[in-house]
Each structure stands twice: as structure tokens, then as C-alpha cells.
Amino acid sequence: MATTKMTATIIHQEPIGTGVFSMLVEAKAIAEQAKPGQFVNLYSKDGSRLLPRPISLCEIDKEAGTLRMVYRVAGKGTEEFSQMHAGDKIEILGPLGNGFAMKDGKAILIGGGIGIPPMLQLAKELSKNGVEVQVVLGYRDETFLDEEFAPFGKVYYASEDGNHGVKGTVMDAIREYGITGDIIYTCGPTPMLRAIQTYALEQGIEAQLSLEEKMACGIGACLACVCKSKEKDHHTNVNNKRICKDGPVFLAGEVEF
């Protein structure tokens, strides 16, 4: 699983929600290696912004050699990316992180907000593997990307304003709809991940949580993006795991965050 730094070409970009953009790039060497739950580093062209922006992979097309990233504009770096057009070049490093470990069990995919995009490629691959996929998507208000999940499984909604599905959180939706399964794969805001962690540990089912933290190198060298681990970590020799390298996907039972 070689990591590659390369110049990618933007094939298409469009807004798919308020401040949410979908960028498709050609990056063959990375696409060939990538799997669901991994991410890439995108680099700003502006000299005042030196650190990469880690962005999750929403879709991976190994044949076309393309990657799709769906991201929210959260600052000047992502704002810069959002203004790029087809044909523009962008520096990219990837694939990064471990990605989800795809299992055979009946799957509950839970995405919250900008944690939703990585669930799409996962849904696609699990479905292709013949796994039964259920998708729970949590939004504040406006939805995005949700329609694209339909081909791969049943989609449930939760929204803070109640306009889409259950009014409340993804956990409310799981309870409301009585969703059950053998394994949870999830990505989203920390409070949501904590609730799912608690739920999974209580229920005794496996949950793979994709965590987030401020990162610098993206490859496990700088130790910026750690989370606490229950056991002493093999690499760090302390109770810290590197989110960018050992994660971003961890089992509910192995991390504290």
C-alpha cells in the first residue's frame, strides 16, 4: 500500500449543498491503492497556508483512476479548493490511514454531517461484496449525498430540525427505526461517535469509528493527531494511537476520545 505524492488534475467540481462541494480528480496512483475510509492530504497553493487539509475519500474508481472528495468549506484552505475548476491542478498525498476493515456481517453505516462522504464508497463495496447494508445519515438541516446511497441499501435519516427522518440524532433514528446489525461503521462529529461507541459496547457489537483530529504530516511521523488508546500502543509505547496512521478507523473498544 504505497503512499504517493502527486499532482492531480481536477475533472469536475460542483457544490452539492450549502458550503459542501464535490470534487472529482484524476489521481491514478492513489486511486489504485485506496480503500473505503482512507483519506488524502490536499495542499493549498497559497504560501500562507502550509499544512495539508486531510479529506476523506467519498468514491474511488480504480478503473478510471479517479477519486471523489466531498468536503465542507470550513476555512480559507477548503474555500480555495472550492474555487478550483476542471483542468486545475492540485497537490495530493495518499492514500492515507487504515480505512475500514470490511466484514461480512449485516452492516449499519452511520454518517453524520461531513462524516457522511466516506460511507458512500464503503456502502458501494460492502454491497458489491453481498453484504446487507443499512445506512443512517444524520444532518443538521439540509441533506446532501443521501440519494446516492439508495442503490446500496436502505437509507434512514435523522436531522436536528426534523425535516428529514427522525428529529434528533442518528442514535435516535437507530432506536426509532429499530435498526439492528452485526457491525457498525461510522464517521461523524465526536459527540455522535461517542454515543455510538457507548451503544456498541453496551450491545456488544463491533463498531469501527473513523476519528478526526488536527493533523500535520498525515503519515504518522509528527504525532500531532493522537487519540488515547485503552492499551499501550505497540508503536508509540504509550497509551496513544496515531489517528492519521493507525486510524482514522478504530474499534470502539480500543480508543478513548
Binding site: 505524492k5 500562507s48 502550509l50 497537490e91 504530516c217 503519515i219 509528527c222 493522537v226
Partner: protein
């Protein structure tokens, strides 16, 4: 064309290493960069025992730079010696081990422990602004710096590089103290203490409140201090602070550095250390410089 430099008796094939803490022990970057192309690899700081480091967030981007407060998380000397040194020995480069501690005894223990290890130089981190108990306390007081340097030198089998903090009124006073105590070389600058506040969340951008500012933003401070120190002491200097290009490296060498370290810029492009080494060669070709040592302190 000669790019080799000699620091405290150790010859580097070129004057480029990496700044401690930005490169781990090289394993991760070795997938992207050929470590054989570096004059030396400087490891992340290692202590006598494992350190947990600071809470997250540990880093924040700033204008033309970043602040970090990793807090010297490290696996401790035992794991380091067993795993990281053999890894680095595979490469044709020098190994500089950065040593951190909370007390003189801590430093001495690690330095003694490394005495029989196949490493080329030791860099003593007395200037990390992110760890309360130690480090920086030694780095901001010339007497304390003299004492720790002397204590380390008394047990060291490898050349000792003292890494200086820029957060002082007079860097030359610190440099002289380290030299007087027997330091074989100096590296500077460590990070400037900085702070970033997230005005939207009304909180500090790094959990430690303050962090070390690094990156191209601080290069002029670093060049100034290297120049001052080069005129104040005789020992060789490894210059660092914002180096991202070959020309940046040449700037430090002209200011008086014998070698340079690439740090934050590696986060922007993993190839930076190698590109800096190549950029030095390009500069030398362009201006017909036969020996990199001719440029040292030439302004």
C-alpha cells in the same frame, strides 16, 4: 563540486538534515523520501522513559507557519534503541538522536545509554517550549545551560549538539555558555513560543494554550540568530527555522551555519529535505561554487 561538511569530526555528504520532531525516526517518511540523500537524520526527541505528550489538539496552522505543542511524546530510550536505531542504520546517512528530559539526570541517563549505540551525534533539546517540567528551563538561563551541557558532556561518547531556544533576550549569551561548557556544536533555532486563539470557539487553538511557532514565517529571526551566534562562538552551527528551499539553506550557510535542518516545510511537501539538498547543488552550479564550505559566513 563538494557538498560535504564536517561537524565536530562527523562528515555529512551534504549539509541537510531534518528538524527533530518533524520526521519521527524516519520510518514513515522513508516510504516517500530516500533517506540516503540526506546528510543526517535527526530523530524526534527521546527520553529515558516513554512520555505521553500533551492533550490534543496539538497543532494549529498559522500564517506562513504553524504552532505545535506535541509535548515530546516518545516511546522511551529502550524501544527507540531496539527499533529505531537499527532501522536508521540501514541507510547511508548520519544518525543524530535528539535527547529530551525533565531533569539533568534524565538527560545524562539517555546520553549514557546511547554511548554504545551506533549513532553519530546527539542533539540535546533544552529548548522545547511545550513541556513544563524541563527543557526550556535549561534553555533560557545561561548558567543552567552551562551546567546541563557540562553534565551531558561528562558522559557523552558522541559529539554533543546543544539546541538553543530563540525565546531569549540575547542568544549569543546562551551560545557562549554552551560552548564554554564543551558543546561540540549548536543547533538553532528551536521554535518561538506562540499562541493562537480560535475566535469562533473562544478557545485556544492548541490544548496546551501556547505552542512552538515554526515555518517560513520565522526564518528572518532564525537567520539573524545564526548570524549573531556565528560571530560569537567558534563551534559549528546547524541552522534551522523556516527552511523550505535550497536558497533558504544557502541563506543560513551565508549567515554562518555549517549545516541546516528542514522542518515544517516537510509537512507541506514530504520531498522538501531532498529538494533542499538538490537546491543547494543547483545554486552551487549556477554560481560556480566549488565547495559549499566557501559560502559559510560569506556576508
Amino acid at each position: 563540486m563538494n557538498t560535504a561538511v564536517t561537524i565536530a569530526g562527523v562528515t555529512w555528504k551534504n549539509p541537510v538534515t531534518v528538524a527533530s520532531g518533524t520526521f519521527g525516526s524516519g520510518a514513515e517518511y522513508s516510504e516517500l523520501v530516500d533517506l540516503n540523500q540526506l546528510g543526517a537524520v535527526t530523530t524526534k526527541g527521546v527520553a529515558n522513559i516513554p512520555w505521553q505528550g500533551n492533550p490534543t489538539p496539538r497543532i494549529a496552522e498559522t500564517y506562513g507557519g504553524m504552532i505545535n505543542a506535541v509535548g515530546l511524546q516518545n516511546p522511551g530510550i529502550d524501544v527507540f534503541a531496539k527499533r529505531d536505531i537499527p532501522f536508521l542504520k540501514q541507510y547511508d546517512t548520519n544518525i543524530i538522536v535528539n535527547v529530551c528530559g525533565k531533569s539533568t539526570a534524565d538527560y545524562v541517563e539517555v546520553v549514557e545509554r546511547l554511548g554504545d549505540e551506533p549513532v553519530d551525534m546527539l542533539e540535546i533539546n533544552v529548548s522545547c517550549p511545550n513541556v513544563k517540567e524541563g527543557g526550556i528551563a535549561f534553555g533560557q538561563d545561561p548558567k543552567a545551560l552551562f551546567e546541563i551541557t557540562k553534565a551531558v558532556k561528562a558522559v557523552a561518547k558522541q559529539p554533543i549538539i546543544m539546541k538553543l531556544s530563540p525565546n531569549v533576550t540575547d542568544i549569543t549569551e546562551m551560545a557562549k555558555a554552551a560552548e564554554a561548557a564543551g558543546a561540540d556544536a549548536l543547533s538553532l533555532i528551536n521554535t518561538l513560543t506562540g499562541m493562537k486563539i480560535d475566535v469562533h470557539r473562544r478557545t485556544f487553538a492548541v490544548a496546551n494554550k501556547t505552542g512552538g511557532l515554526s515555518g517560513p514565517a520565522i526564518k528572518p529571526v532564525a537567520v539573524r540568530m545564526v548570524y549573531q551566534v556565528a560571530h560569537a562562538v567558534q563551534v559549528p552551527i546547524i541552522g534551522m527555522g523556516g527552511i523550505a528551499t535550497g536558497e533558504d539553506a544557502i541563506e543560513f550557510i551565508m549567515a554562518g551555519a555549517t549545516a541546516v535542518s528542514v522542518g515544517t516545510a516537510t509537512f507541506h511537501d514530504p520531498m522538501t529535505p531532498v529538494k533542499v539538498a538538490q537546491g543547494i547543488e543547483e545554486y552551487m552550479k549556477r554560481y560556480g561554487v566549488e565547495d559549499i564550505n566557501e559560502l559559510r559566513g560569506c556576508v
